[in-house]
């Protein structure tokens, strides 16, 4: 019997058991939110919040969200614009800067790189940043949602490291063929960099999709509020009066299920996409050797 507790199988079960409990804990909040979103007023009142799964599926909350709300539709549009415009400019500005500073022979490369590094360890603080955006009249424009965060220092470093590790032979061969620096960038370097561009692009895109704080201070005008702001506003209030144009039927869904439906509504794109793209993310972290 002594050997039983030492056998590999026994410990395998223990380890897998612990990990399964942990894994479940990552999923459980989402399962609860999903169930709550399908619950009707009557069932909610009867069961008083003890909801792991709904007994009867009610789509009322989704009907309301999909059909009636101009506010949500507009917020989705702003977020969509932010993600596309933002990610595109992020990539352009980050790639050009990283590629230029990856040239080992570039005069003043070290001080120029330090110029970027320094912003990663010291900043002027929230108030001067806010006042600057205010001063530049960017507030309540879509530009406030991506121009102040055009280049992320970490992503710049990841890209620069990647460019520095491109084999020099490839570049030299192109130079011998008489390619201009621009030609080398567009037809040698960029095609080779697709994986890192995709990774960094996804980092930026998720950031723009999820970012709430800066939007909350730069945008006060309803027309330009991205989804996270609207979401926050509605999650934070007890009733759901903020979703305009809602005319309740005979049986309105409870606030809890509307809120849950709202969470699902705003998170589904990420939930759908992330299992497929997380591989790129993991690779990106390896490439940079740093934490995202």
């Amino acid at each position: 019997m002594k050997s039983y507790y030492r056998t590999e199988t026994f410990w395998n079960y223990i380890i897998v058991g612990i990990l399964l409990i942990l894994t479940l804990s990552f999923l459980l909040p989402f399962i609860i939110v999903l169930s709550t979103s399908f619950i009707s007023e009557a069932e909610w009142a009867r069961r008083g919040g003890h909801v792991l799964y709904p007994q009867k599926i009610s789509m009322t909350a989704y009907d309301i969200l999909f059909g009636k709300s101009y506010v949500l539709f507009n917020a989705y549009q702003v977020t969509f614009l932010r993600v596309t415009l933002g990610t595109f400019s992020n990539l352009v500005f980050t790639t050009t800067l990283a590629y230029a500073l990856a040239q080992r022979d570039l005069p003043y490369r070290i001080p120029l790189t330090f110029f970027v590094f320094f912003t990663m360890v010291f900043n002027g603080g929230l108030i001067p940043q806010f006042l600057l955006v205010d001063f530049l009249n960017l507030r309540n424009t879509i530009f406030a949602l991506f121009v102040p965060m055009l280049v992320n220092g970490w992503y710049f470093l990841i890209m620069r490291n990647f460019f520095m590790n491109i084999p020099k032979d490839l570049i030299d061969a192109a130079i011998i063929d008489g390619a201009s620096p621009f030609k080398i960038l567009t037809s040698v370097v960029l095609p080779l960099s697709m994986p890192v561009l995709a990774t960094i692009g996804l980092f930026y895109a998720v950031y723009h999709w999820n970012e709430w704080f800066y939007a909350s201070i730069y945008i006060t005008d309803n027309e330009h509020k991205p989804m996270q702001i609207i979401l926050r506003g509605l999650l934070n209030q007890a009733t759901m009066e903020g979703v305009d144009n809602i005319s309740f039927r005979e049986e309105p869904p409870p606030a809890a299920s509307l809120k849950s439906a709202l969470i699902i509504f705003s998170t589904v794109p990420i939930l759908v996409v992330y299992p497929f793209v997380q591989r790129y993310f993991v690779k990106g972290i390896m490439v940079g050797g740093v934490k995202g």
Binding site: E8, P29, A100, M120, G124, G125, F135, N210, E211
Partner: protein
């Protein structure tokens, strides 16, 4: 000069990015000088040059205010507890995952563990609030069934910090484990092979081979955490706290936000922000220097 001309293409390429850093990072550094001035809430930066210099007035007001110790203490306690629990958690998680022999199972669990990382703090806070709601919250109601007491967790000073730390660990454990798993995957299998021949069990191998092999990464990551000691989780706290728990939840960043952007005391809030930025600079700079000294690339 000739050499610079030869590289002109690359300078043109770098220019937009450098201009961005100048405008949106260096100008605010200069703008932080409003901490030594009295800026009017109506003029903002436009009144910068007209505003009178007041020396260290705002710093003195901060250090002598009743909030000073609370805010500093809360920042360090919350951040310290997050490091205490949140730093070892992904290492242990990675060690456990590393022992899973079925590759498909390991991959599925890993993928699920990344999920919280991709969810915004707004949604996470919404879920926490829903689970802990005094009426209809699954956790609160379940506890109520067993103990008969209805606890307002988010409004209670005794529980608030634990909620912050728990949700922080929940959100970061999977994602942070990536770097350790990557380090583990590059360990030479021959080491395990020879240890097995010597009769080592799995715990011994984890302790004597796996951990020492990733110790460099652990140290670098720890220095990174220390460098960010003053970042106690601004967005998370801002989304979850309420006046009733300010006493334990108010950190430097939330204080700056309320004083500056809600109460419009720009100069005072900028002074508090600058106070933080200077200490953070020392921490980050030292952490990075140490990491560089330990070898290879360090944090940069």
């Amino acid at each position: 000069m000739k050499k610079i001309w030869k590289f002109r293409f690359y300078y043109y390429l770098a220019l937009p990015g450098l201009i961005y850093f100048f405008i949106f990072h260096y100008i605010p550094m200069g703008g932080a000088l409003i901490a030594f001035k009295d800026i009017s809430p109506f003029d903002g930066l436009e009144g910068f040059f007209d505003a009178p210099w007041v020396g260290l007035k705002h710093f003195e007001r901060f250090t002598s205010s009743v909030y000073f110790y609370d805010v500093i203490e809360n920042t360090i306690i919350i951040s310290g507890l997050k490091i205490l629990f949140g730093f070892p958690a992904p290492i242990i998680f990675a060690l456990l995952l590393n022992e899973v022999l079925r590759m498909s199972l390991k991959r599925v669990m890993q993928t699920i563990s990344y999920l919280p990382h991709f969810i915004s703090w707004v949604v996470t806070a919404g879920m926490i609030t829903a689970l802990l709601a005094t009426s209809g919250g699954l956790i609160t109601e379940t506890i109520n069934d067993f103990t008969g007491s209805n606890i307002n967790f988010l409004g209670n000073k005794d529980y608030f910090v634990s909620i912050l730390v728990t949700s922080h660990v929940w959100k970061t454990i999977g994602w942070s484990s990536i770097i350790y798993l990557a380090a583990m995957s590059s360990i030479d299998p021959a080491l395990y092979e020879s240890a097995r021949i010597d009769g080592a069990n799995r715990l011994q191998m984890a302790w004597h081979i796996t951990l020492p092999s990733i110790s460099f990464v652990i140290v670098i990551m720890f220095l990174f955490e220390i460098g960010h000691l003053l970042d106690a989780g601004f967005e998370q706290i801002l989304l979850l706290y309420s006046p009733g728990v300010y006493k334990v939840a108010d950190i430097i960043d939330t204080f700056v936000y309320r004083e500056g952007l809600l109460a419009l005391k720009y100069s005072f809030a900028a002074a508090v922000g600058l106070f933080k930025a200077v200490i953070a600079f020392v921490l980050l700079y030292t952490a990075n220097k140490l990491a560089n000294k330990l070898g290879q690339t360090g944090l940069w």
